[in-house]
């Protein structure tokens, strides 16, 4: 079972890399994200909006002053992600996760999803 799980992750890794390199923002330009910057966030998944036209991961992050801040992270289209094996359960509410994102240029709490690493070490997307 464990090896099958690893195989599944390996299978997901390549398309996830492609998705991350090409944000697949087919519905809009994506220019509002700074693709030259990478920000790492650690927090708790609030919601994974597995809906058209793009998926959004809502994650609550401590702002460093003890205050929770909700970040909105945009990912690919659910149909495309679904064909690659991702599901609404990919980011379950309550999960602890560290995200790497291209942040918004104006500093707002949002960004383009690059990769994620769960507390158990499982990764999604272009983590390395």
């Amino acid at each position: 079972m464990r090896s099958a799980y690893k195989l599944m992750l390996a299978t997901l890794a390549i398309p996830a890399l492609l998705v991350s390199i090409q944000p697949a923002l087919a519905h809009h330009s994506g220019a509002e994200f700074d693709n030259d910057k990478v920000v790492e966030l650690t927090g708790t998944i609030k919601e994974f909006q597995f809906k058209n036209p793009h998926t959004w991961i809502q994650i609550v992050v401590d702002d460093g002053k003890g205050q929770p801040t909700e970040w909105s992270l945009e990912w690919g289209a659910p149909n495309s992600l679904g064909r690659q094996g991702y599901r609404p359960s990919t980011f379950p509410p309550g999960a602890k996760v560290t995200m790497r994102v291209h942040p918004m240029r104006n500093g707002s709490p949002a960004g383009g999803f690059i990769a994620a690493k769960f507390a158990d070490g499982k990764t999604i997307g272009r983590w390395e």
């Binding site: 087919a26 509002e32 809906k51 793009h54 104006n106 949002a110």
Partner: protein, 270 residues
């Protein structure tokens, strides 16, 4: 006797396979299923969504500033394109599909991401795109274009088969007249006088080629030939709902042309 001959001939005509009555009552010849090519499966457009990559030069792309060899625009429409490119460089050239709700139309219907299906039937060919979604219907039952056809996003397409190649003409396109139809996000547009001749064929088991020759006496100085390629996706690939308005957190601000990012409460973050 004469009456019986007419009745007999009429019955023969009506029951002969491949024969029928097209719009306007004109007899036509429709190829039966077994003589049509197999374009089944799910297909993915190759090469990104810059409409004409064959004439693209430099580093310019849908999102990036760069040099491109332009379509054969006349001076007036080259100026329009330059203005659009300038807006694109400032991220202020809105893509009309970002607000959801309108078809991408022809020829952009061959320039969208996500899977395609090419459904071949004797009397029609349907091109279905997941993105949009969009449907393009090409009538192959012998009918002609309507002389009084009004302009739409996808226009009116009629065609025929030349061996395994589908050849069709598309007319009655609204183009950029109403400000809600573009070819790609570099700002390519055509006028409401544009029309096209398209040839589609399966070049091998895993590739479909679409070659469009676009003419536009209002915007172009000569015919513009663009080729798009489609690669077959793995067997069993599914196509899903594309409900653009389901959770659109990226509407365009109509006042500025800027694409917004909506926060979890629906308030713009930019």
């Amino acid at each position: 006797m004469r009456t019986s001959i007419i009745i007999t001939l009429s019955l023969v005509f009506l029951v002969t396979p491949g024969m029928g009555l097209a719009q306007g009552g004109q007899p036509t010849s429709i190829l039966p299923f077994e003589k049509l090519p197999d374009w089944s499966g799910v297909w993915q457009m190759q090469g990104g969504t810059v409409f004409d990559r064959a004439t693209q030069t430099g580093q310019g792309g849908v999102l990036t500033v760069g040099v491109r060899e332009h379509p054969p625009y006349n001076a007036e429409w080259e100026a329009i394109y330059q203005k659009n490119l300038s807006l694109r460089d400032k991220d202020l050239f809105p893509d009309v599909i970002t607000n959801c709700g309108v078809p991408v139309g022809f020829p952009r219907v061959f320039n969208v991401p996500d899977p395609y299906e090419f459904v071949v039937r004797p009397e029609q060919v349907w091109i279905l795109t997941e993105n949009g979604p969009n449907v393009m219907r090409i009538y192959t039952d012998g009918r002609k274009h309507l002389e009084d056809q009004w302009e739409t996003y996808t226009g009116d397409s009629v065609g025929h088969w030349e061996d395994d190649t589908l050849v069709f003409t598309t007319v009655a396109l609204k183009g950029s007249r109403d400000g809600d139809s573009i070819l790609d996000r570099t700002g390519l547009v055509l006028s409401d006088k544009a029309h096209g001749t398209t040839r589609i064929r399966k070049t091998n088991a895993t590739n479909i080629q679409v070659q469009m020759t676009i003419e536009d006496p209002k915007a172009l100085t000569k015919p513009w030939v663009v080729t798009k390629e489609f690669r077959k996706m793995p067997p069993g690939t599914r196509i899903y709902d594309y409900g653009c308005a389901e959770n659109n957190r990226n509407p365009v601000d109509e006042k500025t042309g800027k694409t917004l990012i909506l926060g979890p409460g629906g308030k713009p973050l930019n």
